[in-house]
């Protein structure tokens, strides 16, 4: 890799903001990255208003739609308490916003700390294994994905995503030279592969796909040589036909139905294609401007998980194509801002971390919408900020907190 003249601008930017000599002087010979904040970028008062705003808009919008989408179901399942899900979600969201703001003050380089890193990875892997071997105690839809600790139920795979992002970012940051080598590529591929394996064994196909997409995204910018990245992508794509038999061997046989309802959602509306069909009926009912806020009819038991995986369908039904596009555009704005922050991150770790967190939230949103619109076969992905799920929301807010902290230290403005 050569980067000489093209880098001038960023160097100049560094020069402009960083007292160069001291920085050079303090750089350790062992190329150990500093855990101290970059002097000039680290300002407590600096706060990424655009990212914060789009987050808050998404959160409030999401909360409102959750109320609309869930009240009918809540009234039924919780003896007339229409606000059951709304209340819970609001609680988590309030906590989440506080957590986000607090984390934005905590230097993200703390994650480079060996102990922090090891403990995080160890605990994550332990939890994943616990779930895998049935210690979680919560089964949903034939798969073991949830872990229950005290009053809190959560998916360890949510934490695994973040842990994987941190580990790959750490690799890219720690030794930018080694990552260009075959060994470096294998190391990254191993991290991604290991994460995916832990997840797919649950089996949690959508989680695996998300991990893979995050992994590939990070890999492609990390410095891993592109032939390796392409090789991995091609290899995984070649493995796809093997997934159904593997799933089947593991005792899960619902994949065929997913393919069926993808190709023809009207094939078996009472059975296999029910979810997809009802989702399309909801979206189709909306037209350009929808039936009006709160006016969804599909949420009355027609649409399964209307407050969860298929909340987007309720949005499109109530607010129409315009409302649906608004949601998509909000996520696009979020992603562009996230990448903007990533590109101006003070170091590779920050950039990788910002990219990973952004990709994670973005890809999850788009996969969810793609499922709701039947762009891809049905797989259970929730819509960040919108779908019901306290711990997931908390995790997302916390990660945006990290993003906000990177932004504080970035060369922005």
């Amino acid at each position: 890799m050569n980067m000489p003249s093209a880098n001038t601008r960023s160097h100049r930017a560094v020069k402009a903001t960083e007292p160069k000599p001291s920085s050079r002087h303090r750089r350790p010979p062992v190329r150990k990255p500093s855990t101290a904040p970059a002097q000039s970028g680290w300002r407590l008062t600096k706060f990424d208003i655009p990212l914060f705003l789009v987050t808050i808009v998404l959160a409030v919008f999401g909360l409102g739609m959750l109320l609309s989408a869930s009240w009918a179901y809540a009234a039924r399942e919780h003896s007339g308490d229409s606000y059951f899900y709304f209340r819970n979600q609001m609680m988590f969201m309030s906590v989440g916003i506080v957590v986000m703001v607090v984390i934005s003050f905590i230097n993200y380089r703390l994650l480079l700390n060996k102990w922090v890193l090891f403990i995080m990875c160890g605990v994550t892997v332990a939890m994943m294994l616990a779930v895998l071997f049935g210690a979680g105690g919560v089964t949903q839809g034939g798969a073991e994905r949830w872990l229950k600790i005290g009053p809190i139920t959560f998916q360890p795979s949510e934490i695994l995503k973040f842990a994987m992002i941190v580990v790959i970012a750490w690799m890219a940051h720690r030794n930018p030279e080694r990552i260009k080598t075959t060994f470096g590529a294998i190391r990254v591929a191993f991290v991604v592969g290991f994460s995916c394996m832990l997840t797919i064994l649950q089996p949690h196909l959508s989680g695996t796909v998300i991990l893979f997409v995050i992994g590939i995204s990070l890999m492609s910018i990390s410095g891993v040589r592109w032939p390796y990245t392409v090789l991995i992508i091609v290899g995984v794509l070649a493995l796809i036909p093997l997934i159904p038999p593997i799933m089947e061997a593991a005792g899960y046989s619902y994949s065929d139905a997913r393919m069926l309802s993808w190709r023809d959602p009207t094939a078996d509306v009472q059975g296999d294609t029910f979810q997809t069909y009802q989702s399309l009926v909801a979206i189709g009912s909306g037209g350009w401007f929808g039936l009006g806020l709160g006016e969804s009819r599909q949420k009355f038991s027609y649409l399964p998980a209307s407050h969860n995986d298929f909340i987007f369908s309720v949005i499109a039904e109530e607010l129409g194509f315009v409302g649906g596009m608004l949601v998509i555009l909000l996520f696009v704005v979020f992603i562009l801002r996230g990448f903007y922050i990533a590109k101006r991150a003070p170091d590779r770790f920050g950039m990788m971390l910002a990219t990973g967190v952004t990709v994670q939230i973005g890809i999850q949103a788009f996969l969810n919408i793609a499922v709701a619109t039947n762009t891809i076969p049905n797989t259970g992905v929730s819509l960040p900020f919108f779908s019901y799920g306290g711990t997931a929301l908390l995790m997302q807010m916390a990660q945006i907190g990290v993003l906000l902290n990177i932004s504080r230290q970035a060369r922005i403005g």
Partner: protein, 772 residues
């Protein structure tokens, strides 16, 4: 200068982030956005339809069907609200209502089987079980009250409104009114023809239901109120209808009629139908009920088929099914027949009644005058080599010296002659003018169109046969309409059943449905026809249609059913058409008796007495009053005065005042009258000799008289026979003054023992063949 260990992200990383990751994500966004657009905008209609079909649930709110009245505002058909009871075991379970309690209530209030209800309750996937149909308000109120007390969910036991059509007069005008089916759609008659008016607009309660069938929320409920149907006032007068039906039915029984009879009574000046009947009708409240004889007939058919099948082998399920099918087919044929309105749906040869129309055409065209004479010496006429006999062929001759005589004798050669004077083209022009080539357009469904000889190919034989009513098949309604034009001043009127339609606030929506369509004949022609036809009825002191004191014109007809029977076994249609008063017709009536198989079958014998009887009862109702000559006055009936408690002198004066001038037979020795025969109030002839008892003993010990058989006797003979036996005769029938009249029926059986002085009604008819 380059620092591979640099902590800062290098340019390559940034470029990759921008051009690979960002662009790939945005590409994915485009893919999703496109799919969202296609689903929510392009295919929106399809999905919305699918959404509605699963989400919307609606109930019909039945509009109240309009009422049908007769011309005087008497109710002929009326709807009332009833309820269907719908049980939803699903909602019972969903709302945690007590199934035992509900089943108990249903069995208590509606008499339903408790165990059966409980069985339904055990199938919670059921949501719509109609457990009782058309319950009345009393039961409905009970259930509603009970539901409120026990807090039963709305849809657990749902009371759905329905309407029930009720016909207070059961059978009256059944073939005209028609009935409604279970969907409250009009079937047959006025109910069918004016269905759009009567039906109103059903309302609808649309609501959204969730995937498991519960209503979503109240604000989605959309109520479209029902608009009640309009009310229809018929031109029919239920009293006249009753008279017509009564006498038609009597004639059908008396003459063993094979193919029913029909009668129409119409205002000749407006076309308003005053009565229209087809025997034997049916009960509008139970339209599928057949007569016992018909049920018996069906049973016989079934037995016959079963026996036949037994000879072929075992009765398998398949064979049984085929037999049942055949019987069911028979049954629906019977239904179809009893529901049909013969007056407008069945064609017949009008026969001699049509001669009225032939004569009117020729008079109008000045081809004949009332004085034109015809020849019938040979009692047949040859037309293009075909010999057509007069009805009197082989009997004593008659001389059609003028129109009145030709009409009275109903002379075929005379009318064939009249027809030939017109020629085919002019004859046909008049068929068109009289509306005989077209439907009348009456406001009733299923009117039949006539079958008329082809204009271009009409031969002279066709013309000859048409002139005497034996070629063209028309409906009775067409006949009476054409006939009316001959006597009402020459106008073709629009026959109609409905006078006006009003909405529920009494506003008239539609009226003047009848009226004159066109003038065909001059007033002069019409006047000649009226005089001629009055002479026909008055002939020889009165024919069977004559009623003393009234001016009646009429013509009989006995047509051969040449297309449905063979010369050796000829079947006839007997008809009579008359109008009154002859100088200013207010009512015209046609009676058609199809295939009388008794001894008599001439129209003058079978149909004319019906017309006479109906007219007699109807005239007071129609405000047509008699004007008697002194001679007629003497023959008129009077009423027996109440003589009980009167002295002898008082009694004589009372009798005189009543017009009973014959001295009474006085029995017993008391001072005051204790008993009379006949009793007070009975109608009797003025020449009757009443018996008066002055003490009880004489009454108790009085010797009864034996009723002599007077059948076939002349008026004088019958009078003498009964008077000699100590009984009184009451003359019935229009032909009493006719020397040829003979007693046809008696009100009591010969040989019966009756107190002396009892009135015996004897019906006389005159046998003049087809000619009036």
């Amino acid at each position: 200068m380059k620092s591979p260990l640099s902590q800062s992200p290098d340019r390559a990383m940034k470029l990759k982030l921008t051009y690979i990751v960002t662009l790939l994500l945005l590409a994915f966004v485009l893919l999703i956005g496109r799919k969202l657009y296609v689903t929510s905008v392009v295919d929106a209609d399809d999905f919305r339809t699918r959404a509605n079909s699963q989400q919307l649930d609606s109930f019909t709110i039945n509009a109240n069907r309009g009422t049908i009245y007769d011309r005087n505002g008497k109710i002929m058909a009326q709807s009332r609200t009833v309820w269907n009871v719908i049980l939803s075991p699903y909602d019972v379970k969903l709302n945690e209502n007590n199934p035992e309690e509900i089943a108990e209530m249903l069995s208590e209030v509606l008499g339903l089987d408790y165990d059966k209800m409980m069985k339904l309750m055990n199938e919670p996937e059921r949501r719509y079980e109609v457990v009782a149909r058309r319950i009345e308000r009393k039961e409905h109120d009970k259930i509603v009250k009970w539901k409120a007390e026990k807090e039963i969910a709305l849809y657990a036991v749902y009371l759905m409104e329905d309407t029930l059509r009720h016909y207070p007069n059961d059978k009256s005008a059944s073939n005209v009114i028609g009935f409604t089916n279970y969907e409250n759609d009009g079937m047959y008659g006025i109910e069918s023809f004016y269905d759009d008016q009567l039906q109103g607009l059903d309302g609808r309660l649309v609501m959204l239901r969730d995937a498991v069938g519960r209503t979503m929320a109240n604000e989605y409920e959309n109520r479209f109120d029902a608009t009640d149907g309009n009310n229809v006032y018929m031109t029919v007068d239920v009293s006249l209808q009753h008279y017509l039906e009564k006498h038609l039915e009597a004639a059908v029984h008396q003459h063993n009629v094979a193919n029913r009879a029909t009668g129409i009574m119409m205002n000749p000046n407006t076309g308003a139908i005053l009565a229209m009947a087809t025997t034997l009708g049916y009960n509008l409240n139970e339209p599928t009920e057949l007569t016992e004889a018909q049920e018996q007939q069906l049973k016989e058919i079934e037995d016959k088929l079963t026996n036949e099948a037994k000879l072929q082998g075992e009765i398998t399920k398949k064979v049984k099914k085929s037999i049942d099918g055949k019987v069911a087919k028979e049954r629906s044929a019977m239904w179809e027949q009893q529901w049909r309105n013969k007056a407008i749906t069945e064609l017949y040869f009008p026969g001699s009644v049509f001669k009225v129309v032939t004569a009117a055409m020729a008079l109008e065209e000045k081809e004949i005058t009332p004085q034109t004479s015809y020849s019938c010496h040979n009692q047949y006429v040859e037309v293009a080599g075909t010999r057509i006999h007069c009805w009197a062929y082989g009997r004593s001759g008659h001389d059609p010296a003028n129109l009145t005589l030709a009409m009275r004798h109903s002379c075929n050669p005379a009318f064939i002659n009249i027809g030939s004077r017109l020629g085919t083209q002019r004859f046909y022009d008049y068929l068109d003018a009289f509306g005989l080539t077209d439907k009348t357009g009456i406001d009733l469904p299923a009117e039949a169109g006539s079958i008329v000889a082809n204009r271009e190919r009409m031969s002279s034989v066709d013309l000859a046969m048409s002139s005497i009513g034996q070629t063209n098949k028309i409906t009775p309604l067409q006949m009476i309409t054409a006939y009316a034009a001959c006597i009402n001043g020459g106008y073709l009127v629009q026959p109609h059943m409905v006078d006006r339609i009003t909405d529920n606030d009494g506003n008239v929506i539609q009226d003047n449905l009848g009226g004159v369509r066109r003038q065909i004949l001059s007033a002069e022609t019409s006047a000649i026809m009226r005089e001629t036809l009055e002479e026909v009825v008055k002939a020889n002191g009165g024919t069977n249609a004559y009623i003393s004191g009234y001016r009646i014109g009429g013509k009989s007809g006995t047509s051969e059913k040449i297309d449905e029977s063979t010369p050796g076994n000829m079947r006839y249609v007997s008809s009579f058409a008359a109008f009154a008063p002859a100088d200013n017709p207010q009512v015209i009536m046609l009676v058609v008796v199809d295939d009388a198989r008794g001894e008599q079958y001439y129209g003058s014998q079978v149909a004319a007495p019906v017309v006479s009887a109906v007219f007699r009862e109807s005239f007071p109702h129609l405000e047509i009053f008699p004007q008697y000559t002194a001679e007629e006055q003497a023959l008129q009936d009077t009423l027996m005065p109440n003589l009980i408690g009167r002295s002898e002198l008082e009694m004589i004066s009372d009798l005189n005042r009543a017009g009973l001038l014959e001295p009474p037979n006085i029995e017993g020795t008391g001072k005051r009258v204790v008993h009379t025969v006949p009793e007070a109030g009975a109608p009797l002839g003025r020449a009757s000799t009443v018996v008066v008892y002055f003490d009880d003993d004489s009454y108790q010990n009085a010797i009864d008289a034996v009723v002599p058989d007077v059948h076939g006797m002349s008026v004088t003979q019958a009078n003498k026979a009964l008077t000699d036996a100590g009984l009184n005769i009451r003359f019935m029938g229009g032909a009493v003054a006719n020397v040829n009249a003979r007693a046809m029926s008696m009100s009591v059986q010969p040989g019966e023992m009756l107190p002396k002085g009892t009135i015996v009604e004897v019906h006389f008819i005159v046998d003049e063949g087809r000619g009036g």
